[in-house]
Structure formats: structure tokens, C-alpha cells
Symmetry: D3
Subunit: 261 residues, 6 copies
């Protein structure tokens, strides 16, 4: 099984970090292919960064060898539904994966994320995914994304402190780490805190394997059907659906009108 | 990895049917152990049946070899939170598993279940799991649970008809089959309907593998901590927490006050 | 009118305490029959205790003289819907009764309950009963249920302190005491706090009288219809619906298919 | 116990009809005092009628002998919170009473009301009272309120037809009759339909008795405290809180700042 | 364009204050006509005051020259739906206007209002208007409405302090001032706080102009159709719909049955 | 006042159509500048089209003369929050504008939109904007966006038919036309249907004028602050926040840390 893990930001060291987390949990027989976005922001810390990162995500879905599943490796799940339109393989966001995982092992969780300004993005996702009653609070540490990699930063201490508040003040039963860059911290925090600490990259890898193993593929009826053929102009003319390499060989059979060949 | 699949009803032919679905999708290295409840209803078709089935579910969690994960094989997910209290291994309901799976491959789904009288049980679960915005409708076929196994019944036709209505009237992008006894129908229906059709047993098996693979165990802080030691009386005296065989060896470390030895 | 007040735990002193609260408010002509569960936990402080208490609740509904209404005397309302299936008489939970009562005399309330670990149970009930906009907060005192009876415990002080916080911090207009064992405190707290303090047992008794007085009986159409006849196995074989003594003489007339004789 | 049943419209024949329903269910020792509004609309069939009916409701609360409880006898519950501010006795709306009653005997209900234009009023109440998950649908019959009394009208047939649709299409487990003028139909419809049919007047009377019996009085802390003293001008100058006869003798003790003498 | 700004309380100095705010933002060609209620409370600080203020609001809508739009100048939006029934011109509440405005310039806001006892009124409006996910918190300053005009009061300082808490504790992106009497503070607070501070009167004026400019008029199909003709009794007999001067000349054409001439 | 109306698709004839609708309602003194996206899809009919249209929207916000307000002229409101990050001027989506407008003139509305596959996009917006209780239903006509301009298409008839169903079946009090391309139909449909029919382009123009007239600018505290400075790679390197021309001269003063110069 080939799982393509796409880092929607252009910082390849972060891709490597995610890749490490992914390979640690990948099953025998799962091949993790890493991809770093080639266009867009070096880190994703707001609506603007997120919106501009989608082009790079799309690129990585349509280029290279088709994968059995795709993972979008940023906690904002940028471009998730757009990506689902252009492939029959499952596409997973790491935020949705982590939140769903948390609900299986605790009746409540809190999210510990990076900048205050990204908190609202997580809160929007909590509502989109129906997690309002499970998620106690989204907690921002005000640690910039790329500081997570810096040896001398106080990122670890800030994250631990916020996790402890989540247990004491929110009475959370589990912690969701709200950034792909926190992947390396999960095991240590879990040991320290004594509650499940969910690494979003690991959750996405295992759920991707699970969905492929169930034989599920993205629905091609309704809003996730392949994009309608039409012209695209200007610097995005290559993104016209008819120009995209869309892999459909294993798609679910369906009414001719809803699956474009 | 040892996954124990518990049929909360006492009909062993249904256990076998579930077992078949489970083994079809289980990963190499996953051993599926089947257990049929030894006490309680022959089928679960209401709140009363469901409440009485919990004793048998508890029995199967505390007896025999400890498993790495437990699956409760009835679409009402009976006893789910109680079961989570008495083990550190993940415990999965098949209804929750199927609904979560559906959200990864479609933006909406409908549930097709058995008797009209069980519809409200599914609706309550939809709300508990935060699926109100994903689940378009719960559709009852009025097929009794045990008819699903009978060769001459019109169960298959009734289920197909209701699935087709789900696509036409609800505009559902996927179907969740709302009974463990429908496991054998999923592949055929998916082929016929051209949309993802989620078999709840398969979903639970793959998500159980995924959670174990992530290294997650049930939170023992808060409401899912081991039951407090106390006396149990009468015919349930064996169920006193101090009498249960509780496996804790791999539990998450945690504050002494919240994990009972 | 005969009202059977069932204590789902096996501690008869707590039954007596509830009985006192019940008889204080019962109308002339209402006879309160007390029943202590004969099987299950000595106190109910979690999902597991609650699930195992249902058998004892069922027992008390089907044994002895049929009552005009049944009250389940634990703030988790264990087995409420199962119990409603097996009788045409109204069955009331004390948590639901108290919350409904609070909405008639205040636009907001907070719940003050016992252990932190039971908080989530109350929160689930708040949502099931549609009280999210009325209930400001569920507050745990971390007083064990059986300490409520102990003369030397600091239970009373802890409860008062939490009630005062509910007024100051939550701006609650009323207090719901979230445990049957707190029944004796309601009057004193109301005097002290100057807001309505709802004793859940009293609320259930008066609402039981009210429903019987309205001529209402539990719906036997849909999910609350009598359980379907079927075999029950093992130690629960006596619980097969066909083995239960079900009183139906005063049931609402209805379509033959939905009311089992 | 003195219960004052206020008809917010000025049609005394409808007051009599309500009075009959009230007295049928009132307990021994409960005295039902009837009051017909002296100012405002002859029937209440919209937001405007409802808003203008509040003055008459207020009048009936402050005039005459103080009652132990007040009932506002229109399904829109006009002036409910305003009325609660000016008395320590419980004040009940018939819509809220009926909806709360329904939740005790069925897991779902539909409301059958009069004019299409009043449907939205009921829907707003459903949300205010947290009944969204219990109320399946509000069904309008387009029967004008005062036609309910007319012998030759087809009101009864229209209501029955809509109730039957509620059972067949909504799978409702109970019916709430959404107009005080339908009080006389409840028993017959219940007999005919085989499900609980809730008469809102009867529900309010029994719940009023229940609340008084629990010793509960309207909270005087927060928004339901007595109105602040201030001048009222023009034709409503008599409604200045200082001009009102406010009965406070049995009020809950409370902080001096929140209870006006 | 003639916009009538109605102060539902009888304090004309507050009307003047609102008028100033209104005229500051009114477009060339918009004429602001001020009206002070002639009957009812001197200030509106509770459900009772609010309910009694509706008569004065209705008076001002039906008397004088017909306006192209009406504004109800109290943050509780008293009588909003009743007022909409009796005119085809748009009627705007200042609370709804301010909340809607806030959602265009920030993803979250907090409301800073006057008395603690009015907080629940704002919270009810937040829910009615679907603002639960946008409004972080309603904050009461416990400043009485009429103190807002008093030179020596500490009203300004209390409001500023609460606004600062809204930014620090609620992480609000904007402030909605929850009282018409705070109109004069908005500009200064915005300058001081560095976030949008919405004055509800200004918001209502500009949205009134906008709606008139779009050619929209109040729907006369359904619950906002003109009141049905009927008798009104007693001191409100002049309020019978047939007695009202209802301006319909520019109404949307519609089915004869739903628009009363 | 300069209002820039951006068509996120690249079809300039549709820009002209929108421009006509905009200029019809624009106030004296409002200058409408039209912009057609120079890159991306010819029409927007799905998540993929929408995500790819954001680049073109961003382009039009940062190029040319700074505007006092920006309108994103596609009913999916693509890139709305990203656009708000890069300007202090208000940015309005036409879907949000239309829905907010509808709530001022009716208690309920239905949306009539184009393709079935875009229905879910509208439903997501309904929830994001808190319109669940106001929006009765989203109705798809299955008319492709560009057919709206074609003389011989049956688009008009299909839209009218769906509007009529919205009135009859949904009991909607108003219609929101869910596509910028339907702008020219609003007046005729309103005349025909007798209820408010909201043209989303007109609504956005008038609300843009209103917000500018209130002196409101986009909050620069929290998630809508200017994007953090950072590198952007590849074909999007020009989109690095430091490369963008960001107009801040009229921004709200604020803490130095949250407003980037």
C-alpha cells in the first residue's frame, strides 16, 4: 500500500519530521512517500497561508505515482475537500484524523496548538467535524510553527504547560497535539501526562491504512465527484480538470453521469 | 495483535457472519477472536434488549486472554463506555466506527438499519457522536435482525430499495449499514450503488488495528478510569470491580489517584 | 396512586433517605413504595456501575404490585428507556425531573454533583434532555456518594461552597442537586442561598403524580413498545420479554402490531 | 392551593373550555380560578396578537387574590418571562408544560397546531425550550383558533388527519395539541390514535401543582428578580413596578440587592 | 429615504443621544425621524420592561408619516416580529444589526452590556440570531442604563475595563456595545482598543438604508403577513388590526389570501 | 467610496452581469470597480474550482487602486477569510450578504442554487454563518452556472419552479438566489412570487456601503491580522506577505504586535 504524505508547507525539514512519525507507526507493507509542497508558504499560520497552500497540495496529488491514500499534513486540513474531488483514493486530513482518534479513547479532549491566531481555524474544524461536544477547548501556546524544530526554543515547555492546564482546568481525558510539527513530542507527553496524547500524523497514517483496508474509496456521487470539465485561465491554466492526470482505475462503479472518465 | 470481536447477542450464527467480515479485512498479524454473549437476548432490537446485553459484553471483556482491542458487535454500541472503564485496551463500537469511516470518504451519509423501533437508537448515537451534520437520515427497513440470515427472506431487496432512496431522496454520498448482520451485503451493495457502503464490522476491525498501531490506549483519567472498588450485591456480586480481572499492565502511567491497581 | 421509588444501588440507608424526601412532598392519596435494588453496586459512580445497575432496576419494575408510576432514583437515570419499554406506567428519572423542574422557575441552573468522574454522565444527560442552553455548568464536589450520609464528612460544606460558586461564577438562577443522596440538603441550601434548590427525588415524585393525573401513559408506539418476544440465554434467561410479568391493562389502545399482549 | 388560569385572549367561551380541562385533572385541594384577559385580541394568531396580549396577562397576575401558581393559557406562552419577574409564585406556559410532559412518555413528539402562520411561533418555542431533538415536526392544520369551538366546522377532522400524518410520516411517539382550544379533543384523539396525546392545559395544571408541591418558587436572583423601580409613562403609567401589587411574602430569602420589597 | 428611529423607552434625552449617532452615519438623502415612546418604562432593564415597551413601539410604527424603514432602538429588540407584521417596510432591531455587522469584520465578538440581569436577554438574542459560534461571551458591567448619560458616573471606565477583558480573556476580535445609550462611546473605544467596536444604532441605520436600497420589503407570506382582522378589547381596543393604519402601497404583490388589504 | 467587485471566475460576461446588478443598487457616490479573475476556473461548481479560484481573488485585492470595500462575487464566498487577512477594508461574500439580508425581512428563507453538487457548499456556509434555523432548505436546480446566461436555456423556468416549491413545501418566507449569475432574475421573481427574493450581489454592495458608512474596518487582532512575514516558494513566491502590497493607512490603531507594518 502506497501512502503519500504531503506537507503543505515548503519546509522540507518539517516533512522529514512528519515522515519519521509516519514511518514509526506504518504497518508492514505500507510504503510512506513523502512530498514537500513546491509552492506556497514556508509555514502555515493563518487563513491566508492556508488558502495559498492548496495549490501545492493539489500538485502533489496529481503528480508522481498514484497513491492508495493521501494525507494532508497540516493541522488546518487545507484543501481537503478539493483534494477529495480529484482522486478516488481516500484523502485524510491530520486534524480530522486526530480528533476522530481521540473520541475512541476518551470522552473529551483538548487541542494544544501553536499561535493564538490559528486557534479559530481549529475551532472551525472542531465544528465542521462535529466535535463540539468532545473538544473541551482549543489552547494556543503562541509557539510559532518553525520554532518547534529549533533546539533552543522553549516550545516543549510551553506545550507541556498548556497540556497540564488542559487536564486541570478543562478536565480533558486526552490531548490532541494541533500541529504536524509536534509529532515527535507525543510519546514523551503521553508518558509524562498519563493520558492519551494523539499525534495527528500517526493518526492519519493508521486511519489511511484502515480505510484502504476496508476497501473504501472516496465517494464519486455528489460534491466529491470529479471536477466538471472546463477551461482554467492564466497561471492556473494547467489546473483545468481536463489537464489533470486523474486516476480512476479503481473507482467505485457508478452512474455514468456522476463519474467523469 | 489480538482483537476480540464480541457479539452482544447470543446467536452464534451471527457471530460467525461477523467473524467472516472481520477476517476478510484483518491485517496480517491481527488475530480475530470471536465471542458470543452467553447471557441475554438472541437479537437486539430495542432499548431493553440493549440494556440487558451489557452484562454479556462485560463478561467477554474480563474473561479469557486479554485482547489488544475489543469490538462490540451490535449497531447500538451497547455498554461502550462501561466497557471502556474496565480495560486499558481500546474498545470500539461498530456504529461509531462506521460513522467515523463514512466521514472520511463522503460529506454525507445515510444509515440503513433494521426495525423502525431501533431507528431512535441510531438517531441518539448520531447525536452522541456528533454526526448530525454528516448523517442525512436514518432509514428503517423493518427487517428483523435474524431475518438477515434467512435465505428466503426479502431482506436484501428491502435493504437495496432503502439504499436507493437514500441516494435519490437524501442525496447521501455514502451508505452506512446499520446492523452487524448486514456485513455480507456491503460489497455487493457498493458495486450496485456506486457509492461507498460501509460495513460496520470491517470498519471497527480496521480502526481497532489503527488505534493499537498508534499506541493509544483508553484514557484512565476521568470518567473512563477503572471503576472505584465497592461491593456489588446479589446475582451481580461477581461484578464488583475488585472481583474483576482487570488488565492494566500496559496502561498509560498516570496519577496514582486515578488508576486503581 | 401507587408510586414505586427504586433505588438502583443496593444501599438501603440511601433508599430510606430518598423515601423521606419523597414522602415529604407526596400528595394525599399517593402511596410511595420503596425498593432497593437487590443486585449490583452499592453506589453508582461511573458508567460501569450504572450499566450494571440496570438489571436491578428492571427487577423492581416487574416484581411486586404494579405501580402507577416508577421513579429511578439515581441521578444518572440508569435504564430509563429500557424501563419505559416494559410498562405502560410512566417511568421518571430523577435527573430529568430535576432539570425540567428547574426550567420552570429559573432561566438558568447549574448542577452540583458528587465525583469529578461522574460529571461527564451529567453532561451527557444535559444534552440528551435538551438542557444545554439552560444548564450553565455541571460542578463536581468530589464527595463520594456514600459520604453524603456520613455525619462527620465535610460533604455539606463542600456542596455549599460549590453552590455559591455556581451563583457567583455561573450566574445560575437555580441549583440542581445532582445526587439522590443530597435530598435532605435542598431545603437548607435554598434557605441559605436564596435561590431555588431542586431536590431531584421530590421533583420526580411530583412529576410522577402530575403525569398520572394527566392520564398519560408511556407511548407504546415506536421504540417504547413492549420488547419483541425472543429467547434470552444464560443467567439472564428469566429476562426474556415473554417471561416478564408485563402489566398492560390500562395501556393506551393502539394498533395491534405495536402492542404485544 | 390556588391556581389562576389566565386566558390571554378575550374570548370567555374559550376560557370556559380551558377551565373544564383544568378542573378535570385538578387535584383535590387545588382551586382553579379562571381569568379572561380584559384587553387585547379575541384570539392569538401571530406575533402581533401575542405581543399585545401581554398587558392583559400582566393585569391578571397583579389583580385579585394572589395565587400559588399562574398559568398562561395560550400555546405561544405570551409574556412568560415578564410574568415571572413580577411574582414569586411559579408561572407556567401551556406550551412549555405540554412539551416537557411529552418527553416523559415518548422519545419523540409532533405538535399539531392551528394556522400555518403560527407554526413559526411554535418552532421558536421548541428551540427556546431545548426540544429540537424531541419535537419531530410542527404541523399546522390551518384551522382558525375560534373555529375550534364551532360545532359545524371541520376542525376535528382536520386535526385528526394531521395527527395521523404525524404518526405515519414523522414516526412521532406522542402528539402535543398546540392550542388551548383543543383541550377537549385530547382524550378522544388519544383513544383513537393509541399514543399519548397531550392537552397543554391539563399539563400546565398538573405541573403547577407539582412545582408548588415541591416548594419551588420563581428565582429572584438574576433576570427574574422583581423589576427595578422606575417611572412608566402614558397609558401604561400604572404598570410602573412601584405601582404594581407584588406579593412577596413567601419569596425565597435572598441577597437584599436582588429582591425588591 | 425616511428612517424612523424609535426609542422604546420614554427618556427623550436617550432618544437624542441615539439620534446623534444615527445622523452621524446617515447617508445623504436619508432623513432620520426620531420618536420617543409615549407609554411604558423610562428605561428597559428586564423582560417586564421590555414586554411593556412593545405597545409604545407599535404606536410609533402606525402613527405619523409612513417611513421607508423602522429601527427599534433598544438592545433587546423588543417587539421586533410584531412590528414586522404591521408594515411592509423593513424593521430592524439594533441588537440584530450590531451582531450581523460584527460578523462581517471579525470572526468573533463579545457583547458588553449594562446590568447583569439583562445578560440573559442578550444571550437569548444571540441564539435567536444564530450567533452562538460568533459571540464569545456576553459581559455585563452592572451599569444602569440611565447612568450612561450621567457625567459623573464611572460608566465609561467600567465599560472600557470590560471591553479589555473581552479582548484578553475571550480573544474577541470585535466588541458589540449592548445598549443604545453607549452609542457615543464607540468611536473612542475603537480608537483605544484597536478593534472594531460596533455601535448598534449606527449599524441599524446603515443596514436600514441598505435593505431599502436593495428594494427589499418585509415578507408578507407566512408569520409576518398583516395581522388577521379581529376584535381587540378593553384599553387596547384601538389596536385591533382593522383599526390600525397599515401602509401597504409599496408592498410586494402576493397571493390574495396572504396579504390583507 | 470605491467598491471593488471581484468575479472569482474568469468569465467576463458574468462579471458584466454582476456589475449591472451592482450598479443598479449602488448609492450616489459609490463607484463600482469590476474585476474578473485572471487565473482559475471559467465557472465555480465544486470544492476544487473554489479552492483554485482563491489565487485570482487574492490578486484582485492587492492589485490596482485600493478599495474601500471588496466583494467576492461567487456564492461559495471563496477565500473570504484569507482575503480579510490582507486588507483593512471590509471584504464581503455574496452568500453571507444575501443570507444576512434575508433574516431582516423574513423569519425563514430557502436558497435556490445551481448544480446538485454545489448544494453541500451552500449547506456548509449556512452552518458557518449560523443560519441553520433561518434557512429551511438548499434547493438545487441542476442548472449549470454558465447556462444562466444562455438565451435558449430553460434555466429561468427551472429556477422559478424550484422557488415555487420552496414556498409550498418549505414554507419559506423569502428566497435567496444562490448564484451571482442569477442577479438579473431577482426583480422578476419577486414580482411573480410575492415574497422577498434576494439577489446576492445587490445585498453585498449595499452591506459594503453600510459597513464603510459605519466606519468599520476588518479586525486586525487575532486570526484576521495581516499574515505573518515569511517566505513563499515556487510559482507562488510573489504571494509572500512581504511581497504583497498591503494597504494599512486607514487601519484601526492597535497593539504593535498584532498589526504588521
Amino acid at each position: 500500500m502506497l501512502i503519500k504524505l504531503i506537507n503543505p508547507n515548503t519546509t522540507s525539514s518539517m516533512t522529514e519530521l512528519m515522515g519519521g512519525a509516519a514511518r514509526t507507526v506504518a504497518a508492514t507493507g505500507s510504503e510512506i512517500v513523502l512530498a514537500t509542497s513546491r509552492s506556497g508558504p514556508a509555514s502555515i499560520e493563518g487563513h491566508y497561508d492556508e488558502a495559498l497552500s492548496v495549490v501545492g497540495v493539489i500538485d502533489e496529488i496529481v503528480r508522481g505515482e498514484p497513491a492508495d491514500a493521501y494525507i494532508i499534513g497540516c493541522f488546518g486540513d487545507p484543501g481537503l475537500l478539493a483534494a477529495r474531488e480529484i482522486t478516488t483514493s481516500p484523502v485524510l486530513g491530520i486534524a480530522e484524523s486526530a480528533m476522530h482518534a481521540a473520541t475512541f479513547v476518551a470522552t473529551s479532549f483538548s487541542i494544544v496548538t501553536t499561535l493564538e491566531r490559528t486557534r479559530i481555524i481549529s475551532e472551525h474544524l472542531v465544528r465542521s467535524y462535529g466535535m463540539q461536544n468532545h473538544c473541551r477547548r482549543v489552547r494556543a501556546t503562541d509557539v510559532p510553527v518553525l520554532d518547534l524544530e529549533k533546539p533552543g526554543s522553549n516550545a516543549d515547555a510551553a506545550i507541556l504547560a498548556e497540556c497540564e492546564k488542559a487536564l486541570m482546568e478543562d478536565h480533558a481525558g486526552a490531548i490532541v497535539l494541533g500541529c504536524a510539527g509536534m509529532a515527535s513530542l507525543a510519546a514523551r507527553l503521553q508518558q509524562r501526562l498519563g493520558v492519551p496524547v494523539i499525534d495527528c500524523v500517526a493518526a492519519a497514517v493508521k486511519f489511511a491504512e484502515a480505510l484502504v483496508g476496508m476497501g473504501l474509496r472516496t465517494s464519486k456521487v455528489g460534491d466529491l465527484a470529479f471536477p466538471l470539465p472546463k477551461a482554467y485561465a492564466g497561471k492556473l491554466s494547467d489546473y483545468a480538470p481536463t489537464s489533470l492526470r486523474l486516476h480512476n482505475s479503481q473507482s467505485l462503479a457508478g452512474p455514468a453521469t456522476s463519474v467523469r472518465s
